[in-house]
């Protein structure tokens, strides 16, 4: 019954293993020349979409990313993992700093309607801002049901059963499609993009082109006032004992 189409949102973030440095003027963290990769939870979302496609429950996977030009790399990774098409919503580097969950959710909602998808998959949160908002807001804009913190996703005809990891334990929801699902850590273990898939992602990416900015206007989002290291309160914690260099 492979008629379903899925939209997977992927975010380009600073790689988890990089040592974060705060900029000297304390307006943010250093991102220039720093290694970036796909948000780990987004990888899990892509993997889930690809598995659904392999089970022939989903027909097409569209990967979308909002941000500066380098987001193309992230989309290509998604394509190499098994997505069919990529959409890059280009945001100039200067404005990308102010891009927050609200703006991204608006974009995703518009795209989901435009592409007529049945399932929107995202990671539960990004490892740089830890907002945990985009999925929920997207569902709000679309007025679709949402299953967040998913640790298991099962498609059942026109419904999707989502097992959620919540504070009290596990909660199982049955949502009517179309729906928004955000992936939690234990949903699956993402595959590596194999080399042949990486080579094959090239032709795929060039077919997608950029989703243009007519999708959603970027209004001024939140403005970051300052960013710095946490104050050392003398507590035994390995992180706070690392020296600032």
């Amino acid at each position: 019954m492979a008629e379903l189409r899925a939209l997977v949102a992927v975010k380009r973030v600073i790689d988890f293993a990089v040592k974060i440095r705060v900029k000297p003027d304390r307006t943010g963290v250093v991102t220039d020349g720093v290694k970036h990769s796909m948000n780990p939870f987004c990888e899990i979302a892509v993997e889930e979409a690809v598995r659904l496609k392999e089970k022939k429950l989903v027909k097409e996977i569209i990967a979308v990313s909002c941000g500066p030009a380098q987001c193309q790399e992230t989309i290509r990774t998604a394509l190499a993992m098994g997505a069919d098409r990529g959409i890059h919503v280009e945001v100039p580097a200067a404005e990308a700093d102010r891009l927050g969950p609200l703006q991204v959710a608006r974009v995703l909602a518009k795209l989901a309607e435009k592409e007529k998808v049945d399932l929107v998959l995202l990671g539960k949160q990004a490892i740089d801002d830890d907002c945990n908002q985009t999925g929920q807001m997207t569902a709000g804009f679309l007025d679709w049901p949402q299953g967040t913190f998913a640790s298991q996703v099962t498609l059942e005809g026109d419904k999707v059963k989502v097992e959620r990891e919540i504070d009290g334990g596990l909660e199982t929801l049955r949502l009517k499609l179309p729906a928004v699902v955000t992936a939690d850590l234990r949903l699956n273990e993402p595959r590596y993009a194999t080399l042949p898939n990486i080579m094959g992602a090239g032709p795929k990416a060039s077919a997608s082109g950029n989703g243009s900015a007519d999708v959603a206007p970027m209004e001024a989002g939140c403005r970051r006032l300052g960013q710095g290291r946490p104050v050392n309160r003398g507590l035994p914690c390995a992180e706070s004992q690392e020296e600032e260099d």
């Binding site: 790689d15 988890f16 293993a17 490892i127 590596y192 080399l195 042949p196 080579m199 390995a238």
Partner: protein, 432 residues
């Protein structure tokens, strides 16, 4: 950050948050140092004009490098210690190499290969060597020696028979050296006598890498010793052919997970169809292919040295003696800068030789320079790293001593340093 906890859970390893984080077991994934982040993406709009720095990669090369890096960190790193101790490579590692297309990087996709460039092989070998030089050797020999030989000189039938297997499941072994023929490889004594439509091979080989795991052997034997080296021919011999005996693996100083065995050929019958290329041209093929092989070894030594260096620097930035970080002693800083410069030079030599080879331009001198230099500085870098780590560098609980042992073979195999210098001098002679 959640991301920090997540990755180790996936790999099954534990991230131990010790006070001196660097003294945690080397099974924990290390931080990505800034030094190895100087890559940029090739601007295709430039038509790839060579004004770009050597460390400029295409998108595919960049993705490949990243993927191999992750694969090496997550799937190979936890097993390195046991593989070294037991002198045995884990099956899962070999399977992983095949599954990720790392054993058929340049093989055409119609045969099930990856269809990528030679430079991609170099990058893959370098990334693997940062974690384990033995595993990198599997990737290197298969891609630069075995696959190249068959792709270049194989008939359509031979390619169809072997290339797919080599890309997906079978390891190949290159058999040239003998007890009496090392640097002087063309004085090899293994004979191949023609008997009807068969050749019968008799003789023995020594120092043959991966013989224990290989399914295919490329054997260099002489069909007519009276013609000297012009009788050397390359034969494709399948494992299990009667008369082919694989000896016990050597107990080596380094590269222990890569098994090295002697072979004996006792009236091994090989059909005429299994001659690779032309009879008597084996020496030409060997020389030709060893040129690219040199760049591969340079990449391996480069990765090894870089991996060792990347492990050591965070340590000396954390360790404090006499109230000062080791890294803050100027004497040490000078040593570190010296080694880092040599590493950079080796990288540029290697990348340039690879790009020259890809461009179809002459690269033999550059390849020899790259191999010679990379292997020499790998030895020096690893030795220095042990010095900087102090006692911790001397024990097997930390990986530095393994890098040191593994580096030694670099100046010896695939053309000793002396041979490389000979080659370079020969080219210089021809230039002036």
């Amino acid at each position: 950050m959640e991301g920090m906890v997540m990755r180790p859970l996936r790999g099954g390893a534990l991230l131990r948050r010790n006070f001196l984080t660097c003294l945690s077991s080397w099974k924990a994934p290390p931080r990505i140092p800034r030094s190895s982040q100087s890559e940029a993406l090739l601007n295709i709009a430039n038509n790839g004009l060579p004004y770009a720095p050597l460390q400029t990669f295409t998108e595919e090369e960049m993705m490949l490098k990243r993927t191999v890096e992750r694969f090496a960190q997550e799937q190979i790193a936890p097993l390195v210690l046991t593989m070294d101790e037991n002198s045995k490579v884990e099956k899962s590692v070999i399977q992983g190499l095949f599954q990720h297309g790392l054993m058929g990087i340049e093989i055409d996709t119609i045969y099930g290969g990856t269809g990528a460039s030679f430079f991609s092989s170099v990058l893959a070998i370098e990334e693997l060597a940062k974690v384990d030089a033995s595993v990198a050797l599997f990737c290197d020999l298969q891609n630069t020696l075995i696959n190249t030989l068959i792709m270049k000189h194989g008939t359509e039938e031979q390619k169809a028979t072997y290339l797919t297997k080599l890309a997906t499941e079978e390891i190949g072994s290159f058999c040239l050296s003998e007890a009496g023929a090392g640097s002087d490889s063309f004085s090899l004594k293994t004979r191949a006598d023609k008997k009807g439509d068969y050749f019968v091979i008799n003789g023995s080989k020594m120092w043959i890498s991966h013989a224990e795991y290989a399914g295919l052997f490329l054997v260099m034997a002489n069909v007519d010793p009276t013609r000297g080296y012009k009788g050397i021919t390359c034969f494709l011999v399948d494992r299990g052919t009667e008369g082919l005996h694989i000896g016990k693996p050597e107990n080596k100083l380094g590269l222990r997970a890569s098994c090295t065995c002697p072979l004996t050929f006792d009236n091994v019958k090989v059909p005429e169809a299994n001659v690779l290329g032309q009879i008597g041209h084996g020496y030409k093929y060997a020389i030709g292919m060893l040129n690219k092989g040199r760049v591969g070894i340079a990449a391996q030594m480069l990765g090894l040295a870089q991996g060792c260096f990347d492990y050591t620097i965070p340590y000396i930035k954390e360790r404090v003696q006499f109230g000062t970080r080791l890294f803050d002693f100027q004497g040490l800083q000078h040593q570190v800068a010296h080694v880092a410069t040599q590493l950079e030079a080796a990288r540029l030599l290697t990348y340039n030789a690879a790009r020259l080879a890809e461009a179809g331009r002459p690269f033999i001198k550059e390849a020899s320079m790259a191999k010679y230099y990379a292997s020499e500085i790998a030895g020096r870098t690893t030795s220095k790293c042990i010095d900087w780590m102090g006692g911790a560098g001397y024990v097997k609980a930390y990986p530095v001593e393994k890098y040191f042992r593994d580096a030694k073979i670099g100046t010896i195999y695939e053309g000793t340093s002396n041979i490389q210098l000979n080659t370079i001098a020969k080219h210089i002679d021809a230039e002036y």
